[in-house]
């Protein structure tokens, strides 16, 4: 068995690392039973692999087909260090599997008292009943139940029994991604079931749908005509957008090349883009300074990674519309919003986020990384002010004014001086004097931790 699941189980760090370095490999993929890489590493107690996976941004609480999370497996197999690591990465502690068991059920059942205490300290409820009506304490042997009970009381837990409710049909759990997701880059359009048109954008129609039991968003590109040449370019270009290996990059899962329809498929994220969250949110998400800083850090990491790639992703324009917010409130650069070379020629729909020089010069004559940094400054400004940049101007007006009349965002009084400084250095008029994303990363990390 020479596959990634095997390497994770046996803790083959070299192979795992090499596998992860290929951007097309999806570290959230699961095997035939939905066991993700993290499931296997947690089950087998491969601490190094768990840390590597978490550092690469894998999901902490995906479920397998039995709805177990890695935490369930680590608790059941007595890997206390891994349980603690997962808890530190905010694993969902009270998640139940198909039997209605939480991780605490397993720790109690197997008598791993230390793990059980760690779990309770991390707010694991002792009162959740499983499918058969048993709470974790019912599973304990001897005096362990009593000790855990007093610990729970001491932590101020509510002790009313929570009855089992089968909610698996709701599909709220984050399954490990189907491995076929990253295995098949060319997708047959017949396999898509598109249910709901979400939006009609200049670049294409966005549809919500399902593909191989995954929630997806399919973008049917808007093109005047699809020629053979365009099909060929499409096939050449979309694999570069399948970047699965970074937590802050949202990959294009696959594409359908079936003229006249060219479809770009990506994962469905309920919160939508950062732009949606910032300017059109219904208040589900708490937008405070620390959240904004965290997103800024996420974006910085994602962009730093993209800039570190050998093959630069062409026509990826950073803006709040092209940053997606994942279910766990991680910000991700959406690769699906990169433009194909044959797309939107001679049109820039969001010049408000563009560096002035990027509106005037061709990409090849441009310091793309510096131009992206300018765009990042606009996103920072957006998060700081909660305003849409140049909202009162049409794209043409805004573009002309930015490019030729020196129109810039203004920093209203009352912003954090740190943020102001960050925006100012990122928006340096001299492209060469702007910082790079990996220079910003430590600064933002420091600001986040404060």
């Amino acid at each position: 068995m020479d596959d990634i699941f095997h390497w994770c189980r046996e803790g083959n760090m070299l192979q795992v690392r090499m596998w992860l370095d290929d951007t097309e490999h999806d570290l959230n993929q699961g095997d035939d039973h939905g066991f993700s890489l993290l499931h296997w590493a947690a089950k087998e107690g491969q601490m190094n692999v768990v840390e590597l996976l978490l550092s690469r941004g894998c999901r902490v609480s995906p479920t397998n087909l039995g709805d177990d999370t890695p935490l369930h497996l680590a608790a059941a197999h007595d890997h206390r260090d891994i349980v603690c690591t997962l808890l530190r990465h905010r694993a969902e502690v009270n998640k139940v599997n198909e039997h209605g068991n939480t991780a605490l059920h397993y720790a109690c059942f197997w008598g791993y008292e230390n793990i059980a205490e760690d779990l309770i300290d991390a707010d694991a409820s002792v009162a959740i009943a499983n499918k058969y009506g048993d709470v974790p304490l019912d599973k304990c042997k001897g005096s362990m139940a009593k000790r855990l009970h007093s610990l729970a009381v001491q932590n101020g837990q509510k002790l009313e029994r929570v009855a089992f409710k089968d909610q698996s049909w709701l599909g709220l759990k984050t399954r490990s991604r189907d491995a076929t997701l990253s295995r098949h880059k060319g997708i047959n359009i017949q396999d898509l079931s598109l249910q709901l048109k979400i939006a009609d954008t200049p670049s294409g129609e966005m549809w919500r749908g399902r593909w191989q039991n995954n929630d997806i968003v399919a973008k049917i590109l808007r093109l005047r005509e699809v020629t053979d040449r365009i099909c060929r370019d499409f096939n050449d270009e979309f694999p570069k957008l399948r970047i699965f290996s970074h937590p802050n990059v949202l990959p294009v899962v696959g594409c359908c090349n079936s003229p006249p329809n060219l479809v770009v498929i990506t994962q469905y994220l309920q919160y939508g883009s950062l732009f949606n969250v910032l300017h059109q949110s219904d208040g589900n998400i708490v937008l405070d300074t620390s959240q904004a800083l965290k997103w800024a850090l996420d974006i910085t990491k994602g962009m730093a990674f993209i800039h570190s790639l050998n093959k630069i992703v062409p026509n990826l324009y950073l803006s709040s519309k092209h940053v997606m917010i994942d279910d766990d409130l991680t910000a991700k650069i959406s690769m699906a919003d990169a433009k194909f070379t044959f797309q939107e020629k001679g049109k820039i729909y969001s010049p408000q986020w563009f560096a002035p020089e990027a509106l005037v010069k061709k990409q090849k004559d441009l310091n793309i990384k510096a131009a992206d940094m300018w765009s990042f400054a606009i996103v920072l400004w957006e998060m700081a002010t909660r305003e849409v940049p140049f909202a009162d101007l049409s794209p043409m007006e805004a573009g002309m004014k930015i490019a030729t009349e020196g129109l810039r965002v203004s920093l209203p009084p009352g912003l954090s001086p740190h943020i102001c400084k960050l925006i100012n250095i990122s928006m340096n008029e001299e492209p060469g004097k702007r910082p790079s994303f990996d220079m910003l990363q430590p600064i933002l990390e420091k600001m986040c931790s404060q």
């Binding site: 001679g346 820039i348 005037v360 004559d365 049409s394 007006e397 002309m400």
Partner: protein, 500 residues
């Protein structure tokens, strides 16, 4: 027919050739030989108070006519050109001389240039009766081809094509070379007598009426075509200076067709000196051209050119061919609209040369588009209500400026300010809600190609916006064609007029 033709040709007072025996100066023909504008006061028109001497238009190629006209001065032109004047109250009784009649037989020498001008003075003293002019007059050297034709075989004519004995070949080349040097190479000499001219019974020849020579639109058309020819043929290092003189032998046409189509014509010799060789070459070239243009087949439209007409340096035929090529290959030039010229068609009938005057349309309204498409509102507008044009222009300017003002731009002249494509691109961005990156267009285009690039970019944006491909060609916009520009803008107007 005769009288009708004479009426038609009222401006050519003396060009009717008649045998006195068959038909005298009938009242109809005399009336048609309308009074000259100047003979009423002979003193004023000295030294030649008599009506201008005859010019026989059928044998006189255009160039000679021009020369003649130049020699004679403007009055001759006026006389020929202004039929309205001639329809004035002056009656022919007022004329000093009876309307001249030209007698065909015995052979007459008419339409001679230099000699005629020289003889003008004496003509006055003798008689206006043009029979005097039928006396034998010195002929300028002319090619003995015709005589040879009778006693040489077909193969001799072929020259290089016929494989014959060396000696004969050499002889042939020598004679041919002699002819080439001695003769101007033209098959028809301007001074050729009518019988040499060889019009068969019922045969027709056509040529541009003298008045049309100076038609400014014709001159413009010829200039534009010459420029185009020179553009196309520049890679072959061919320079065309004169439409008739340079094109009649088929060499330039051969290169032109090859250049336009990008294919090499088989079996066409590069150089021919003999007249027959030229004809054969021309025939092959024209066959290829007709094939490309889709004319001249059994059931197809018959072209207005032929080997004969082109080889005889008929400007009308050459122009028709070139205009057809320009249209077919959608050359990026703008031909003047509605070039209509008067053409005299001379026909030999019963030994008499009759002529009639016909309007020949070289280019129509839409020839500049290279397309024959259906007429639309703009044709009606420009043709029927030119006074409304200003209103339309004004509302289009208002519509355009409402958008452009948002980026501090303004246009005043529809015709000129859209030709470089910049405004069109920016307008599309304003209408469709995107920014057109400045690297996508030339913001200060200088050359034709840069402007063309911009207009093409604008057309792409329009088509992306779901508009039909504009009916105008990008080249027309760059050439500041008002109608094309109006069409494109109107297209935008009808889609976006309700845009806030």
């Amino acid at each position: 027919m005769t009288s009708h033709a004479a009426n038609d040709a009222s401006t050519f007072r003396r060009s009717i050739l008649k045998t006195p025996s068959s038909r005298g100066p009938s009242p109809a023909s005399r009336a048609s030989c309308s009074p000259s504008p100047f003979p009423s006061s002979p003193a004023s028109v000295s030294p030649s108070p008599s009506p201008p001497p005859p010019c026989i238009i059928n044998v006189v190629p255009k160039r000679v006519m021009v020369l003649e006209a130049a020699n004679r001065g403007q009055r001759m032109q006026e006389c020929l050109e202004s039929p309205s004047e001639e329809k004035g109250p002056l009656s022919f009784e007022e004329q000093e001389s009876p309307s001249p009649v030209i007698v065909v037989s015995p052979p007459i020498e008419l339409g001679v240039s230099d000699d005629l001008v020289g003889s003008l003075g004496c003509e006055e003293e003798t008689s206006v009766g043009l029979t005097t002019m039928t006396t034998t007059r010195p002929k300028s050297p002319f090619s003995p081809k015709k005589e040879e034709a009778s006693n040489e075989s077909f193969w001799d004519k072929l020259g290089t094509l016929g494989r014959k004995k060396k000696v004969k070949e050499v002889n042939e080349v020598v004679t041919e070379g002699k002819h080439a040097i001695d003769s101007p190479g033209a098959p028809f000499m301007p001074n050729m007598p009518t019988e040499d001219y060889g019009l068969q019974d019922n045969e027709e020849r056509s040529m541009i009426a003298p008045g049309s020579n100076t038609n400014p639109r014709l001159i413009q058309l010829v200039e534009v075509l010459l420029e185009w020819l020179n553009d196309v043929l520049a890679p072959d290092r061919i320079i065309v200076r004169d439409m008739e003189e340079d094109l009649y032998d088929g060499c330039v046409l051969h290169k032109l067709i090859e250049r336009l189509t990008g294919i090499t014509l088989d079996n066409v010799p590069e150089v021919t000196l003999s007249e027959e060789g030229q004809r054969q070459k021309l025939q092959r070239v024209l066959r290829a051209a007709n094939h490309i243009l889709g004319v001249g087949g059994v059931q197809q439209y018959q072209p207005k050119w032929s080997v004969e007409s082109i080889h005889s340096k008929n400007l009308v035929a050459i122009l028709h061919l070139l205009v057809a090529l320009v249209r077919h290959f959608r050359a990026p030039i703008r031909l003047p609209d509605n070039v209509v010229i008067d053409v005299i068609i001379v026909q030999m009938r019963d030994g008499i040369l009759n002529h009639r005057r016909v309007n020949e349309k070289l280019t129509g309204v839409y020839d500049d588009l290279g397309l024959r498409h259906e007429r639309d509102a703009f044709d009606a507008l420009l043709d029927q209500a030119p006074d409304k044009l200003d209103v339309v222009k004004k509302s289009l300017v208002t519509f355009v400026n409402r958008q452009l003002n948002r980026i501090n731009l303004e246009v005043q002249e529809i015709e000129t300010e859209f030709h470089d494509g910049c405004h069109l691109c920016l307008l599309m961005g304003l209408l469709e809600g995107y920014f057109v990156p400045l690297y996508h267009i030339y913001s200060t285009p200088q050359t034709f190609d840069e402007k063309l690039h911009n207009v093409n970019a604008a057309f792409e944006l329009m088509m992306d916006a779901g508009l039909d491909r504009p009916k105008a060609r990008p080249e027309d916009i760059v050439n500041k064609d008002l109608k094309s520009t109006l069409r494109v803008l109107y297209n935008l107007f009808s889609k976006y007029k309700n845009l806030a």
